[in-house]
């Protein structure tokens, strides 16, 4: 197992470096003077200061030495400054990331419960009416643009019925998580809809796969009630592969929440990315992109390790 983990890290760590190199050189391609985001804005006012700082920061050095300094700084948590607001990027991340993680986690929970349940119902009787129904609902879920779906449920549940707030994350009097929960429901549900299809298909296929195995026949021939066979024999064994897809979904969700954050005016990382893109705030774009790419890479590493842990055949391959 340890050998497998080491082997996988030998692939993952160089990939992380390649990503950081791509991101670094993309910043160089952009028409922005790097001094403007390396120095805090109050220092940058004086041009003489700036020239000294340029020398001091090594911006006259060759690119590979600059990259070396930059990557060391990133490891130490110094991400530079936004060229638009002058805020340290680390602070922007600390402020916005929790909102996005909160939204994505709840969407993950909602889509898992609904998606797995629908997949199980589909697998009980493949090609039946209920199977047909849930599969078509899933296709509908991936066909409707998420922002359109968001607008529709805002219209119904927030404007017409007035049950839930239209947008935002924290109201004036909201103190605890439970106060904020109503704000979370609509955006997380919208985010969950797009994921349903994948989870449903995955659950259904892996259940059908397990149900055709010999040990299921054995269980049935022993006279175990069908529902017990279904839950304790089949579902337990297909759980592994479902868990794996779940672990892989979380960083995807963070990337996928960009549009939904705009529809619901959710103050998360997607919102920060959009405003950075609209104002050409390259340092913020690059750091957030790198964070998300690294998160996906780390998640896929964990997925590999997790599936190897659950299935010895993979690690011995």
């Amino acid at each position: 197992m340890l050998k497998y983990i080491i082997r996988k890290s030998l692939v993952t760590i160089p990939m992380l470096f390649v990503i950081s190199i791509i991101v670094f050189f993309a910043i160089q391609l952009s028409p922005i003077d790097p001094i403007s985001y390396s120095a805090s804005p109050d220092v940058a006012v004086d041009s003489e200061n700036l020239e000294a700082l340029r020398e001091h920061l090594g911006l006259n050095d060759p690119l590979y030495i600059q990259y070396y300094h930059w990557i060391i700084a990133v490891f130490k948590g110094d991400f530079g400054y936004s060229i638009i607001t002058g805020q340290p990027i680390a602070k922007i991340l600390a402020l916005k990331l929790p909102a996005t993680i909160e939204l994505s986690l709840l969407a993950l929970v909602i889509s898992t419960i609904i998606g797995v349940a629908m997949g199980l119902v589909s697998a009980i009787k493949p090609n039946s009416m209920s199977d047909y129904f849930s599969r078509n609902v899933a296709v509908l879920g991936i066909s409707i643009p998420e922002f359109f779906f968001g607008i529709i449920i805002i219209q119904i549940f927030a404007i017409q019925l007035g049950w839930l707030p239209i947008s935002g994350r924290i109201g004036v009097n909201d103190v605890t998580f439970w106060d904020r929960l109503p704000n979370l429901i609509l955006p997380s549900f919208t985010l969950a809809i797009g994921m349903l299809a994948v989870l449903l298909r995955y659950t259904r296929n892996s259940m059908l796969d397990v149900l055709s195995k010999d040990y299921i026949k054995t269980a049935r021939s022993k006279g175990i009630p069908e529902w017990k066979v279904f839950i304790f024999h089949a579902f337990r064994n297909s759980l592994g592969s479902i868990l794996v897809i779940l672990a892989f979904r979380l960083p995807m969700l963070i990337g996928g929440s960009v549009i939904i954050e705009m529809v619901f005016m959710w103050p998360g990382i997607g919102n920060a990315i959009i405003s950075a893109v609209s104002s050409s705030d390259y340092p913020v774009i690059m750091i957030t992109t790198m964070m998300l790419a690294s998160a996906i890479l780390v998640a896929s590493f964990l997925v590999d390790v997790l599936s190897a842990f659950l299935d010895p055949r993979i690690r011995l391959e």
């Binding site: 990939m15 993309a26 391609l29 296709v139 066909s143 643009p145 219209q155 996906i296």
Partner: protein, 293 residues
């Protein structure tokens, strides 16, 4: 003489396979409906000038935010433009972007996949790593970054979509080629001295066509959604060109969502209907083209 008879036989077999597939297609109701809806909506946008007399860019400030009526069946927007005409003309750009991007992504994916799968070894692992790097960036964010570097515009958007959307087809074709490579007919071709490019494109590629076609339809749907999303955010096609996403851009304001439902409902339904039709068509094609079914 023998050559001609075998050629005729092959031809007869081909038409019968086509006939079987046509029959399967007709019996698959959802796929047929999907195909008809796709064709119908495409024709409506192409022949837009014959269907509506309104110019989608024609502003009429004395006639703004009119609710749907006999005169303007989808109403008018905040500048008095006819929404029905906008949806019709907007379909042109949306469908164009979706189909062309998917085509570009498929061509690159097929070429790279065929090379990686046929030759294997070093070139395969290099291309594979390359695709993995692309896949670690969330697609929408990669698109956003590239658009901000290249600038907005229909053609730039297509270029960005092609750059960020070839990986699934690549992996698919690569895996197919890895298995097809081991078939006897490929080694027979090789021992006959048939040029490698001919083996790849004339002999192996036709055998991997089915999953490529299915992936193509899925990609068209995905790119139409991506274009709509970006344009909705105001970061895709410039607002002066109507697309389904651009028309919905107005719905970013809560005032429009609350009071002017016709501004977002019609284009939203147009996108959903078209993408749904393509997805049903793709699902149907998967069943029809798969010989194992």
């Amino acid at each position: 003489m023998t050559m001609t008879t075998s050629a005729i036989e092959v031809k007869a077999k081909k038409t019968s396979l086509l006939k079987i597939r046509m029959k399967k297609m007709r019996s698959n109701k959802l796929a047929t409906i999907g195909l008809l809806v796709c064709i119908g909506m495409t024709l409506l946008s192409v022949f837009a000038p014959f269907i509506t007399s309104y110019d989608p860019a024609q502003m009429n400030l004395s006639n703004i935010t009119q609710a749907p009526s006999a005169e303007h069946i989808f109403g008018t927007d905040k500048l008095g433009r006819d929404v029905f005409a906008q949806v019709l003309y907007g379909g042109r750009v949306s469908i164009y972007v979706g189909v062309l991007s998917a085509l570009g992504g498929t061509i690159i994916g097929v070429l790279a996949g065929a090379i990686a799968g046929y030759f294997g070894g070093k070139i395969d692992s290099i291309l594979l790593r390359f695709s993995e790097i692309f896949m670690t960036f969330p697609q929408l964010i990669l698109v956003l970054v590239l658009v901000s570097l290249l600038g907005q515009g229909v053609n730039n958007l297509i270029i960005v979509f092609v750059i960020t959307g070839w990986m699934t087809t690549f992996r698919l074709v690569r895996n197919e080629f890895l298995t097809v490579r081991e078939e006897t007919y490929v080694s027979v071709c090789r021992s006959f001295g048939i040029p490698t490019s001919s083996i790849i494109f004339k002999h192996m590629l036709p055998n991997t066509m089915s999953p490529i076609i299915v992936a193509f339809t899925v990609n068209v749907a995905g790119f139409i959604l991506a274009e709509a999303g970006l344009s909705f955010l105001g970061l895709g096609v410039p607002v002066t060109t109507p697309t389904w996403g651009n028309i919905m851009n107005a719905a970013q304001s809560i005032d429009v969502v609350t009071n002017y439902w016709w501004l977002w409902l019609a284009p939203g339904i147009a996108i959903s209907l078209f993408v749904l039709a393509i997805n049903f068509l793709g699902d149907g094609l998967r069943d029809i083209l798969d010989p194992k079914q």
